[in-house]
């Protein structure tokens, strides 16, 4: 059993640790409305969560994480600043035989604080670092805010920027879009044909030729997108240097101070990342002030891009270098955008993370 006494005790110990640091313990329901999670994560969450049905409440999911319900609870009327901790089971269906458990404990710590994001980031990281220090783990960090600001500041059409932003968390699609928008790959033949027909017959002619138009997506929407395609084809490609800035952010892997120096150089070429780079500098200072050894801290420009998509700033993970077969024992980050979605426009700066106590127990035993 993964919920052995040792794991339970470790979960209780970690929660007590966060409580001692000033967090309020909270609980959430195990059965969560599926609609919220589906709306956030899309169809992919169905493969990862246990979906069940309630005769009155409709589709429900066994809690796949705590962050969403805790953030919802806070948005519904928590006072600020707020710090919460929780310990309980989450449920994740495994599509592959990875040997990973499908139900396991998570202990988390979440901070909702408008005042000083750099200090809040540093505070969360320092606490996790302290809680995990006996386990011989190494931290990896990143900052999705830098990549996002680099995209927002591109000198190109709003549609292209929106498409890239939408796929920040899908590295393959992001790369394919960037290659096309910057003219590094030719227009696909299928797209060229659409544009040729559009030039010849016009949107209405093209649609009429293939009538009827069944279903909800009507002729107006089709014509609207054809116009988007035409504008896109007419727009100049994203410049080589600008696309290169994105590449260099994505490929950046260095110690935090070295990464900061290189990002500052990049900010000279791409001033839009200036504020995000300044936030990173402030965070590193706040971390150093809390006694974190930042000189050896790993930083990667693409860290956090493949997790469930809600981090949009500082991201971190702790893993055991001696056990590359195990997932990280802890992960976390900043998720201001998630609170904006859950709060229907009313956002609260938020940062937090989770520890998987069953992995902490394995590593604590010397990795057996």
């Amino acid at each position: 059993m993964n919920a052995g006494e040792g794991v339970r005790a470790e979960a209780a110990r970690l929660r007590a640790f966060f409580e001692a640091a000033g967090a309020t313990p909270v609980e959430t329901d195990i059965l969560q409305p599926a609609a919220t999670l589906l709306d956030l994560y899309g169809e992919d969450i169905r493969a990862r969560a246990y979906v069940t049905h309630d005769p009155l409440r409709g589709e429900l999911m066994l809690r796949p994480d705590f962050t969403v319900p805790v953030a919802q609870m806070h948005m519904a009327g928590g006072t600020e600043p707020a710090r919460y901790t929780y310990a309980g089971k989450v449920f994740r269906a495994q599509e592959r035989e990875t040997g990973r458990p499908s139900e396991y404990f998570q202990v988390g710590y979440e901070v909702f604080d408008r005042d000083d994001p750099a200090a809040a980031d540093a505070g969360v990281f320092a606490l996790f670092s302290e809680a995990l220090s006996p386990l011989g783990v190494r931290a990896a960090t990143g900052d999705l805010g830098i990549l996002m600001d680099a995209v927002r500041g591109l000198r190109t059409t709003e549609e292209r920027k929106a498409a890239l932003m939408r796929h920040i968390w899908r590295p393959r699609r992001f790369r394919a879009l960037l290659d096309r928008f910057s003219g590094r790959v030719p227009l696909p033949p299928a797209r060229r044909q659409i544009l040729e027909k559009l030039a010849g017959r016009g949107a209405d002619g093209m649609i009429a030729e293939m009538a009827p138009v069944p279903g909800l997506r009507g002729a107006a929407e089709i014509a609207e997108r054809l116009e988007t395609l035409r504008t896109d084809a007419a727009a100049p490609p994203i410049g080589r240097e600008e696309a290169g800035v994105l590449d260099r952010i994505l490929d950046l892997r260095a110690t935090a101070p070295e990464a900061l120096a290189r990002l500052r150089e990049l900010a000279a070429e791409a001033p839009q990342i200036g504020p995000a780079v300044a936030r990173m500098a402030a965070r590193l200072e706040a971390m150093a002030a809390r006694g974190i050894e930042v000189s050896g801290l790993e930083f990667s420009g693409s860290h956090g891009r493949t997790t469930l998509e809600y981090y949009d700033g500082f991201v971190f993970g702790f893993a055991a270098p001696a056990r590359p077969d195990l997932p990280p024992v802890a992960t976390g980050g900043r998720y201001d955008a998630l609170t904006r979605v859950l709060g229907r426009g009313r956002a609260v700066p938020a940062v937090g993370g989770v520890i998987r106590p069953h992995l902490a127990v394995v590593l604590g035993r010397g990795g057996e």
């Binding site: 299928a190 293939m210 009827p212 069944p214 909800l216 997506r217 002729a219 929407e221």
Partner: protein, 233 residues
């Protein structure tokens, strides 16, 4: 113990399976009345025929209740998570061919590729306030394919039969469905995306990795495969 071979219990799939084995010197036939679903195998000692509904065969193989089975690779991949760890494909049989494809209304003249579908999904969500619906009964295959190709902002809606009609009936905007000739799709004003082939399925002889494989079963399997001219890993 006998070497149990699970075969579809009726229809074209059963007849084609009987034909395929028969051409290789193994006679499979139904016994008793037409409603009895009993069968017999001749030509290899220790081989026992089990007639099952085609949809049950993946599960029976995964549970190890039959040693061998004949079914479409689409059903295997759809029904069994991590299918490679549970069954081994021994031989494609050359019939029951069908493609699982992503299809959209022909009138969507702005959509030819998955890349277009993804962009339209974003537009659709913005316009209608919910995710573009794709009707299918192949949830796992469709979802894995769309995820691998970075398509977002869609939802799968369950459709059991007459999936091609879902768009016309207003219950979906697109479909992930099986087609062999594309005829039904065309009749329903749908077209297949140029890169929308999810899986190419055909009837396949499969071996269960979970069944009890004793000396008797292994000997019978060896004799059977030798007769069929099939090599196992």
């Amino acid at each position: 113990m006998a070497l149990k071979l699970g075969v579809p219990s009726k229809g074209r799939l059963m007849e084609a399976t009987f034909g395929w084995f028969g051409a290789r010197g193994v006679t499979l036939r139904r016994t008793g009345s037409a409603r009895e679903y009993a069968g017999a195998a001749e030509g290899v000692d220790g081989l026992e025929l089990v007639l099952l509904s085609a949809g049950e065969i993946p599960r029976e193989l995964a549970a190890g209740r039959v040693h061998l089975g004949v079914t479409g690779t689409d059903l295997i991949r759809e029904t069994l998570a991590a299918w490679e760890t549970r069954v081994e494909a021994l031989a494609p049989m050359g019939f029951g061919r069908a493609d699982l494809v992503i299809a959209v209304p022909r009138a969507w003249v702005d959509v030819e590729t998955l890349d277009d579908l993804d962009a339209v999904a974003a537009q659709f969500r913005r316009t209608h306030g919910f995710r573009l619906r794709i009707a299918t009964k192949y949830h796992r295959l469709a979802r894995e394919f769309l995820r691998a190709h970075g398509v977002a902002d869609y939802q799968l809606v369950d459709s059991r039969g007459a999936t091609e009609g879902a768009v016309k009936n207003g219950t979906a905007e697109a479909v992930a469905d099986i087609t062999s000739t594309g005829e039904t799709l065309r009749a329903n004003h749908l077209k297949v995306l140029v890169d929308g082939l999810v899986h190419r399925s055909e009837a396949t002889l499969l071996k269960s990795r979970r069944a009890e494989w004793g000396d008797a079963e292994n000997a019978a399997l060896k004799a059977l495969l030798c007769r069929l001219g099939v090599t196992s890993e």
